[in-house]
């Protein structure tokens, strides 16, 4: 029989659409529910109270709440790749075809083998791990930790890739209102009618908050109808954005809030192209927190059986969803709100057999058996509640048969979002609860309204919602229109605190992490009384629910034990996120290939057509080598590219090098200050290698800079430091020397730049450029504007490879055509394109430093470039580069290294040791910084930093790599392996 616990529609239609039926499965069993149901309400309607097993003791558990504070009813929602563990059934919106499985049980929910833990509970007390797994120490890693890890956690991951997409975005508003209950709606109406830009966000799929769960009237309308009308009006205002299914999960600086919108979670699958969830960053000028309050339980013996829930949840299921959790119910309360649950349930035809009221002086509720001064001392029922034991005021015990028990220990304002800014909540004795500090919380311009601020009546919510909106509008200069608030209930909070029933042995405080009163007592006994210690020692409040129903209770029990007041004991500080956030939502679109953007070189399309291998260099995808069909191993390709370049001509896309246009009448002076060497004297039409130091005298970057006109230079940087150098120059320009007439702009992407290197470089280029580039007309280190088939272009005669070489640049849109033209023109010279690997080989052969040597801890002197640091002028880093420790004659120097036996292979990262010296740190004389196989020389060669290196050329040493287990005899040589006199590049 379906939906046995659905209340007759005539008594409570609820806000579900009974004309439509939704089919779903839980643990393989088919059930039916209605649109408007949550998974929890639908299961309860079908008489299913048992929904999960507890974390530690594997106790049978059902929902205790009807909202996001739920600690127990956690399920694995959906199946296959979409399976999602630890989903709260109380907020999972029902849809047709939903499937859910219970978790943390084996083999079944009804019979769980690990429920043996419950029998062994005396072993699993607070601090159990710390005490139990101390001995023997060697067991920890191999035995204990794997076992604990296997037992830990609730739901399981399916390890399949999430097939859905996630999105993120940015929203702006004058007033953000968090929560669409009576306070939030009143605030939104006031703010929205004023014309301010308003965002109203609510985690529920139906706005209205508790108004949907209560039977109050507002004016002439039911609470739910008033909420519906308010939402309709807000929807009609173009300045108001309504965001249902949106949980504000965190408060951040400057009025920024994080929110997760569950775009498609209520559907079987997202619609095509739609994300499952969107993570929004909301920029608000003012925010009003109207997140309501969470009811708290009372701890008593065996208070965790399925069927025992918060009294407000019991009536919410009846009022909103038309569900009677049990036919015979009792209420256990310490306040008048518990009585309201009894009245509502009785009105729905539920048999309320007793109200167990801990207050001896409570006003007697007529018509229902109201046991004043009584408490619940125990419960029974194997997989669900069947009876409660009551101790009357006179000490007498009575057993009452019930299917459900509603518990009310009072209400805790939801202070979480104000906590995120470290605004410490303050204790209010009259409602026995923490409220946010003041009306305004800490750093953020956040106002708190309604139950979240401790105004627990509907009237209070409407009034404070309106008032806080008025204040926010006033701050922002909007005129608030007077609001006509409807009449609403304004019952005072009548409560006598009762946190736990004395004498209980196993009374649950934190149901999700299985923390009991006994654990708190143990923490007290062992002196973990500070609230932060209490949390960590017992794991109170550390589960996915962040202790929404348990933290204050645990604190109160500790206060009783220590004899302090609750505020003396401490407060609870919540951190983001308010509810668990899927990592997918935080990642947004940035996953897989879209994890980060790519930068493609102008020759990328051509290179891809050739089957090039690409390497990521920052965001750039650079050609690493271009294999030919016959080549089966990368070295074959690289060796060929190197040899072909040195033999005839090779072409490399060097667009990725940073290019910075530096103009202004003081451009030369500026360059003199940022470079260690001089540039103001550089002739127009020439370029020069430049070395840039940091303030501390270490080398920052290098590159060539050309003078294109008297007041115009083009600087090149390394690929890696393109952005860093630009930033540095801007800092220098704006902050250090604002008096200089210098203007900067990056032109890295504007020009497609190709290196053309090798003995035939000029012959090739002369076929494509329109000007004479003979050695006489365009000598070594010349630079200037030229044309290529009439197109404006730039030519620089510079060489990184040691060969006769040029860099030619054309506007980027012509880069693809340029590489094709160069290859076509180069056919007669057997021109090749070479990638970054061949580039690396050739620069090591030539002894040029690159990233491995520019390691941030090296000086110009280390690199053998000490003379480049001009003492004739001041420049950044010049003074500090002369520090004693950095200018020692026997300091590290760049040297070349080759194996004594050319057949020996060297290993990257090897350290240099004197022959016969033990391989210890004390004997370490230096290390190989860059290592390549030189096809030209036919053996490995390396660059290295070696102590006193300049004076050790010819010395035989050992290159030792302890990780690889190699020890090779090497000779220290000049770092210039090829053409040390530089005849080729000047050819």
């Amino acid at each position: 029989m379906s939906q046995t616990h659905r209340i007759d529609a005539k008594l409570s239609a609820g806000q579900v659409d009974r004309s439509r039926t939704l089919r779903f499965h839980f643990d393989g069993v088919a059930y039916a529910g209605h649109p408007g149901d949550t998974l929890a309400s639908a299961l309860l309607a079908n008489g299913v109270r048992l929904m999960g097993r507890s974390f530690k003791y594997h106790r049978p558990r059902g929902p205790i709440s009807a909202g996001s504070e739920e600690p127990n009813a956690l399920v694995e929602l959906r199946s296959g790749a979409r399976q999602e563990p630890n989903t709260r059934a109380t907020v999972a919106e029902l849809f047709d075809g939903l499937t859910a499985q219970s978790q943390n049980r084996w083999p079944s929910l009804r019979f769980d083998a690990l429920s043996i833990n419950d029998r062994l509970n005396s072993f699993f007390t607070a601090g159990f791990y710390y005490k139990t797994f101390m001995w023997p120490a060697s067991f920890w890693e191999k035995v204990y930790e794997p076992i604990i890890r296997r037992a830990a956690g609730l739901g399981t991951l399916n390890r399949q890739e999430d097939p859905d997409s996630y999105d993120k975005g940015f929203l702006h508003c004058d007033v953000l209102i968090i929560g669409a209950g009576p306070a939030g709606l009143a605030a939104a109406l006031t703010a929205g009618r004023s014309g301010a830009r308003v965002i109203l966000a609510d985690e529920d799929f139906r706005m209205g908050g508790r108004l949907n769960a209560e039977t109050f009237v507002l004016g002439e309308a039911s609470g739910a109808d008033w909420a519906k009308a308010a939402v309709a009006e807000l929807a009609s205002l173009p300045n108001v954005r309504l965001m249902a299914r949106t949980t504000v999960v965190g408060t951040f600086d400057h009025g920024i809030y994080g929110a997760v919108e569950r775009v498609s979670d209520h559907l079987l699958e997202p619609l095509p192209g739609k994300p499952r969830q969107t993570f929004w960053r909301i920029y608000s000028k003012r925010a009003i927190l109207a997140g309501g309050a969470t009811e708290r339980p009372i701890a008593f013996e065996n208070n965790d059986r399925p069927g025992i829930m918060l009294a407000g949840a019991l009536r919410a299921y009846a009022n909103r969803w038309g569900v009677a959790v049990g036919r015979r119910v009792a209420i256990f309360t310490n306040n008048d709100d518990g009585l309201r649950s009894a009245v509502d349930l009785a009105a729905k035809g539920v048999d309320v057999v007793a109200i167990i009221d801990s207050r001896a002086d409570a006003t007697l509720l007529p018509g229902i058996r109201h046991l004043r001064g009584a408490v619940v001392t125990d419960t029974a029922g194997r997989l669900g509640l069947s009876q409660v034991t009551v101790r009357h005021a006179d000490g007498r015990s009575e057993t009452i048969g019930v299917e459900a028990l509603g518990v009310s220990g009072g209400w805790n304002p939801v202070v979480n979002l104000t906590s995120h800014h470290r605004a410490k909540p303050v204790w209010r004795e009259d409602i026995a609860a923490f409220v946010p500090a003041g009306g305004e919380s800490g750093l953020a311009p956040t106002y708190v309204a309604g139950a979240a601020g401790g105004d627990l009546s509907t009237h209070g919510a409407l009034v404070t919602g309106n008032e806080m909106a008025r204040r926010a509008l006033e701050d922002l200069g909007f005129a608030a229109r007077p609001s006509d608030l409807p009449r609403a209930e304004d019952a005072p909070v009548v409560l006598q605190p009762l946190w736990h029933v004395k004498g209980a042995k196993r009374a649950w405080i934190d149901q999700q992490n299985d923390v009991t009163v006994k654990d708190i007592k143990l923490a007290h006994q062992e002196n973990f009384t500070a609230v932060e210690h209490l949390k960590r020692y017992t794991t109170l409040g550390m589960a996915t629910d962040q202790g929404k129903t348990s933290n204050v209770l645990g604190l109160a029990v500790m206060a009783e034990l220590t004899g302090k007041t609750i505020p003396q004991t401490g407060t609870t500080i919540y951190r983001p996120p308010y509810t668990p956030v899927a990592l997918g939502a935080l990642g947004g679109r940035a996953r897989g290939r879209d994890f980060k953007p790519f930068r493609l070189t102008p020759s990328h399309k051509w290179a891809a057509e050739q089957g090039a291998t690409f390497v990521e260099v920052g965001y750039w995808m650079r050609t690493q080598w271009v294999p030919r069909a016959s080549e089966t191993e990368w070295r074959q390709s690289v060796d060929r590219e190197v040899l072909a370049t040195r033999r005839s001509v090779g072409i490399c896309d060097v667009t990725t090098l940073g290019k910075i246009d530096i103009q202004g009448t003081d451009a030369g002076v500026f360059l003199d200050r940022v470079y260690a060497n001089t540039f103001s004297t550089l002739a127009v039409g020439k370029c020069r290698y430049g070395l840039m130091l940091r303030e501390d005298g270490m080398v920052f970057d290098d590159g060539t800079t050309a003078r294109m006109a008297p007041n115009e230079y083009v600087m090149t940087t390394t690929t890696a430091n393109a952005v860093a150098v630009f930033r540095h120059l801007e800092f220098c320009r704006q902050c250090l020397w604002p008096d200089l007439d210098v203007q900067l702009i990056s032109t890295t992407e504007a020009w497609a730049q190709f290196s053309v290197a090798g003995p035939n470089a000029r012959n090739l280029l002369q076929k494509v450029v329109d000007q004479d580039i003979s050695d006489a007309a365009f000598p070594y280190m010349a630079a200037g504007s030229i044309t290529v088939g009439g197109l404006r272009a730039r030519l620089f005669r510079i060489s990184f490879s040691g060969e006769l070489a040029y860099e030619i640049a054309v506007p980027t849109r012509y880069g693809d055509a340029m590489i094709r033209k160069l290859m076509e023109a180069g056919a007669e010279f057997d021109a090749v394109v070479y990638g970054t690997e061949a580039l690396g080989v050739m620069r090591v052969e030539k002894g040029h430093v690159a990233g491995n040597e520019l390691n941030g801890t090296s000086t110009a002197l280390n690199m053998g470039l000490g003379k480049m640091v001009s003492r004739k002028k001041d420049s950044i880093g010049m003074v500090l580069s002369q520090r004693e420790g950095m200018s020692r004659d026997d300091g590290l120097r760049l040297v070349g290294v080759k194996p004594v036996d050319p057949a020996d292979a060297l290993k990257a990262g090897s350290h240099l040791l004197k022959t016969g010296a033990a391989a210890t740190v004390q004997n370490d004389d230096g290390w190989l910084t860059s290592l390549v196989w030189s096809p030209h020389l036919g053996h490995y060669i390396a660059l290295a930093y070696l102590k006193n290196g300049a004076n050790r050329l010819g010395e035989t040493m050992r290159a030792v790599n302890l990780l690889a287990g190699t020890d090779v005899a090497v000779e220290i040589v000049s770092p210039h392996f090829i053409d040390p006199e530089g005849e080729r590049l000047r050819g």
Partner: protein, 188 residues
Amino acid sequence: MADFMLKPLTALGQDAPVVDRIGPWTLTERADVALASLAFRRGREAELRDLAKGAGLPLPPAARAEAGPVWAAFWMTPEMWMVEAPFASHEDIRAHLVAVFAETASITEQTDAWVRFDLAGAGLERVLERLSNFDLRAAPDGAATRTMIEHLGCYLIRRSAALVTVYGPRSSAGSLHHALVQAAKSVV
């Protein structure tokens, strides 16, 4: 002079600009605009402004873009603008500008440093709010800003309520295009 002409490709690597139609929106790659940065040299601002006025080249205030009959410009940073002109007539845009401003300004060709996408259609702020933290809804027509879109530093210009220009780094044209298309699809 060598007897050949290099054939240009668009930033997306095609022979012709790519146009995507997604729901009410049209996303158009624009290869027909020449760009150059224009920054005044120290002490030459007044001269430069006069010359700009004479040439019909607008120099909008901070965070704004303006268009004249031939020239358009948007503010980039203090003392610097990005100048736009039709590519067909102003491909060598720097030469055109140097002819006007001579040594009063530092001028740098920027045409191919950027990829330009124009997003047109009503309600396009629904797309861009997924990409940029710029408050497009509150921005007036002619608003121009620098903003991050998927880790890429971009310029965003609100031409009108139904037309926005995005300039992003040309080498990342594919990534930026992908981001724009995906965002549009997710809100169609």
